[in-house]
Amino acid sequence: MDVYAALQAVINGLLTGALYALIGMGLALIFGVMRIVNFAHGAFMMLGMYVTYVLFTRTGISPYALFIVTGTILFAFGYVVYFALMRPIHGQSDFMQILLTLGVGLICTDAVQLIFGADYHQINIPLQDTNFRIGPNISVNAPWVVSFGIACVLALALYLFVMRTMTGRAARAIAQNRYAAPLMGINVFRVQAISFAVGSAAAGIAGALLLPVFYLYPGVGDQFTLKAFVMVVLGGMESIVGAALAGLVLGVVENLTSLYWGNEWALAVDFAIFVLVLSLKPSGIFGRQTV
């Protein structure tokens, strides 16, 4: 295997990894502020794909513009889910909250199956037939590049939201100490609702960006919930920067494993890293900083 093949695998890994990063950051934000793993995260991504799919087939507008609409819809959806379902059991055991998110995920998946059927769909846009060649040995498919660019911009925006805005600061305060934060005058419910909504929107947008290069069916999100969970653990649980880096690392590792050991090892290596990190360095590879 020559150096170009490895380079190509790294490039492909980064392209996939940026989308993973977006999904992982959303989950990390929700975890940081609410201390629960949102097991409906993959389902929210799937909803994002279906929303974009429906809008695309109705209007013909490119998913690369529609992701804004998808993000807004998923934001509203996350906000409503928080106030209707998450808030009433605020303060209950973590176990119950986790089960609740699992239930929400199942309902989303089954509802989509009820409406759209279990059949899979894909979309076709002209961009899919375009490949960029870098030298004679490296080539990248255009939709992946565009998705990568948008994902990077959004990841940066998410970072700035958390670091620079009042709401972001409040979210970090809650992550730091959720008992002290309300004493400082922070409206915990409001901040949690916004964080949950932003996290859901990130998952939904990732779905929208994945749509042109993948296919969709109601169960498509499941594997991404798991991957997002791995990223959040690698990234040090509540750090969104950590989760973003972990997403990129995961993408590259998967591709290199696939290249050198074979595709069927890719997931095994993902989870091997996951187990190793949990047992050797539970604070995560990129641990330390919070939210």
Partner: protein
């Protein structure tokens, strides 16, 4: 205390899981004869499960219009295995214990079919397999199982015969999905290819449902095989061919063990690989243009039902129900053992799928064809007596195709 919303949600969830289990009742002695069907109506193999259902529906309508069997109307009881083997096994229990069916048709995939063989054997219920190509579905030697379709060894043999006839170069890579269907077809091809003097330069297993096979295709490219043999389902087949173009992988022959590469959706732009499917070869069990009597009529009925033309999976389901009904008629009984004995002895020289007659292992020796996608259509290119057109080889490199 449990707060309300979560409590109701829990109730709702419990409801979702328990409702399906209460449906259905035992076979009544009345006017209908129930036949069990297990297939994948949801999940990743849903496209094939739907093809099954369409095939069964057409057969059912024809049979009932002709008066059913033993003076009773036939009723099909479907069980959706959700493309999961554990669910398929559940299906056997449900269909036999609750619905009291005397015979089962299914499942769709090799994985799920292999999983239900012990279950039907234990319950002494005959099973007619329409589409499972992995040869290990017959390995237990169970006297209760019968397979309509040709298996993975027949696929490998037909592909190699074709390649030899074309005088193709002898280096091959095998790329397969890592469940029963893919593994069985890869093993069969590996053995047969080596025996035929081919050099198997690479063998790659992969997980279906992955969004990205580019690294895998790069591995294949590095070995530079003249021939690639795929054993893939539909979603992976489409992704593989799209990404083969992105990696600029240019073997002389893209060959395959049917299934994804032979699905009606595969050459379409909306649901498959579209232009990227062009020039790929596939083993095929049946085509609407097959020389068997009734093929054309089946095609018409299918078109009327769905607005599209069928691939062989629908025909195999159709043939499975035809065979099961013929056995029940011959046994003149709805007892599983009597139907099993009738299946062993059955001889249908003329069905739209070709002759159906099971050997001592329960295998119907069905002849397979080699097709190539040309301008979005499956065309038979081998064997010569069935060929509609000459194959286009070597496969044009991706660069020259883009110019079009």
């Amino acid at each position: 205390m449990v707060k309300r919303p979560a409590f109701y949600l829990a109730l709702l969830l419990c409801g979702m899981f328990t409702v399906p289990a209460c449906a259905g009742s035992r076979q009544d002695a009345g006017e209908v004869l129930r036949i069990g069907v297990i297939t994948s109506l949801t999940g990743s193999a849903a496209a094939f499960g739907q093809a099954h259902k369409n095939g069964y529906t057409i057969a059912l309508d024809e049979l009932n219009a002709a008066g059913g069997v033993m003076g009773k109307k036939i009723d099909l009881v479907y069980y959706d295995d959700q493309s999961r083997p554990d669910q398929a096994v559940q299906g056997v229990n449900k269909l036999v214990d609750q619905d009291g069916v005397p015979i089962i048709l299914g499942a769709y995939s090799s994985e799920n079919t292999r999983a239900i063989v012990p279950a039907v054997t234990q319950k002494s219920i005959p099973l007619v397999m329409p589409t499972a190509t992995a040869d290990n579905v017959l390995e237990t030697g169970s006297p209760w199982v019968f397979r309509i379709c040709a298996g993975s060894s027949a696929y490998a043999a037909a592909t190699l015969d074709f390649l030899k006839a074309m005088d193709a170069p002898k280096s091959m890579a095998i790329v397969y999905e890592n469940t029963n269907f893919g593994q069985s077809n890869a093993d069969a091809m590996d053995k047969a290819a080596r025996a035929a003097g081919f050099d198997v330069v690479d063998s790659e297993a992969y997980q279906a449902s992955s969004p990205d096979y580019k690294a895998l295709l790069q591995r294949v490219k590095a070995r530079n095989p003249a021939i690639i043999y795929f054993a893939s389902y539909l979603l992976d087949a489409s992704t593989l061919m799209r990404q083969a173009s992105q990696t600029n992988l240019n073997p002389q022959y893209y060959t395959s063990a049917g299934t994804g590469f032979a699905a009606a959706e595969f050459p379409t732009r909306d649901k498959g690989a579209g232009p990227y499917a062009e020039y790929t070869f596939s083993v095929s069990q049946w085509l609407p243009t097959a020389r068997w009597k009734g093929s054309k009529e089946f095609d018409d009925a299918f078109f009327k039902l769905t607005g599209t033309h069928p691939a062989y999976h629908a025909m195999q389901a159709y043939a499975a129900l035809l065979t099961a009904t013929a056995a029940i008629r011959q046994a003149n009984s709805a007892e599983p053992a009597a139907i099993r004995d009738a299946l062993k002895a059955i001889n249908l020289p003329e069905t739209p799928f070709g002759p159906i007659k099971f050997d001592e292992h329960g295998q119907n020796p069905h002849q397979v064809l080699i097709t190539q996608v040309l301008e979005g259509q499956y065309k038979v290119v081998y064997p010569p007596e069935a060929a509609e057109t000459k194959p286009v080889v070597p496969t044009p490199p991706w660069d020259t195709r883009r110019a079009k």
